[in-house]
Symmetry: C2
Subunit: 220 residues, 2 copies
DNA sequence: CCCTCTTTCTACCAGATGGTCAGGGGACTT
DNA sequence: AAGTCCCCTGACCATCTGGTAGAAAGAGGG
């Protein structure tokens, strides 16, 4: 894996992805991805039928298979694009000027913003980060580099004494699962008859930040 | 719904459940439930095939259907038994002598103990507390009464000034999703190549207790 | 010995699913 | 106008799905 030279380059590469993106069918491909994300993220991969998916889009199942070869291929494409969305959000923060603790806080806020704007994406993450999921390795491939970078950055900060020394990977995974858990929480709230409000999300965010501060801030 | 007279009675009722439990087929029924719990909790309801399930047990699919009528019926039975397990663990604490904050802490420890001993159960919870899950109402029916009781107790404590006044239901759901999120976290850890240790679980528990203390303890 | 109840099996089915194959039609090039 | 490429579709298929019908094999009681 060649390390990208600048953050901007990484953003561009991530945004484009590997698929052909020009041509008349590009819009169809995007619509398929949108619907697939919604379906995978709610009723799950196994619960999604290509026929239903196509029916909802007013196209035939064969069109989906033409663009994405197989159902697995479609899942892979959805995961890739979603991971790219997250990458963009995070890399924007990393390219910003915030430093030290401010940067951590900015990252958390950025992720929560994505979670609020695209709740479906959280559903997909939950679906994919599951024991038997066929896309688990794919997700690892798409998000892994960013995680590695974050971990490396944290360890550099620790070396410089600007962060308390702990297990960076453990903290990252903890934060990750908190965010994904948010999707579950919102669903449970809805099942309990409560319409989820900004308040629950804000509470979770505050809680996560408190945890991170307790783990990382050298002054406390 | 008739309110049970004593806690002990509730425990007994919950443990037994509604199914016939004597007879030669009882062992088979239990084995089926065990395997179904494992399968539903990992690869999910839709991902589970009755043929595979039976194959793993060395029996025919029709035997499963004989005992549990339909796939849905099987899921219902699994959810019921799992909820009963949780109920037993929690009611034991509620029948104990701990009071006030000690009781909250005992409850949390009890749930985490169950989560550690039966990780599959957490997987099932995650699977079931999902938007399209066919067993969501069932889970609500099985766990709802306990949640209501917990909520009522908390509100009584608040009235008596032994607990800080907050939205009891919100706190409960928050705690619930933290525990369920633990299942996700453990899986992600495993995917990242780290064998989950006691430490991660302990961290989560400490974190949850801190959150609860901040929300509920009137002295802080 | 027969009768009944329980448990498990074999045989079978209708429907749905993911996927293949060949073809049609539009747009752009030469 | 012919060729070529991209996009989409209808027809078809092998396989797997949950579920039904009926019978065999015991066990136990009369």
């Amino acid at each position: 894996m060649a390390e990208p030279t600048t953050l901007r380059e990484t953003v561009r590469d991530t945004v484009r992805g590997a698929g052909r993106s020009s041509g008349r069918g590009a819009e169809t491909r995007e619509r398929i991805l949108d619907a697939a994300l919604a379906s995978f993220g709610t009723i799950g991969y196994d619960g999604t039928s290509l026929d239903d998916l196509a029916g909802g889009l007013g196209i035939r199942k064969q069109t989906i298979l033409y663009h994405y070869v197989s159902k697995r291929g479609l899942l892979g494409a959805v995961v890739d694009r979603s991971a790219a969305d997250l990458n963009v959000a995070l890399l924007e923060v990393l390219a910003g000027e915030a430093t030290d603790w401010e940067r951590v806080e900015a990252l958390v806020r950025s992720v929560f913003r994505v979670a609020l704007e695209q709740p479906l994406l959280m559903g997909l993450l939950r679906e994919v980060s599951r024991p038997g999921s066929p896309a688990a390795p794919r997700l690892k491939g798409a998000m892994g580099p960013l995680m590695d970078r974050a971990q490396a950055w944290m360890e550099r900060e620790m070396d410089a004494g600007r962060m308390r020394r702990t297990d960076a990977q453990l903290v990252l995974i903890s934060a990750y699962s908190t965010v994904v858990g948010l999707a579950t929480e919102i669903e449970v709230l809805r099942a309990a008859g409560l319409e989820p409000t900004m308040r629950t999300v804000a509470t979770r965010r505050r809680e996560l930040l408190r945890f991170l501060r307790a783990s990382l801030d050298p002054l406390r």
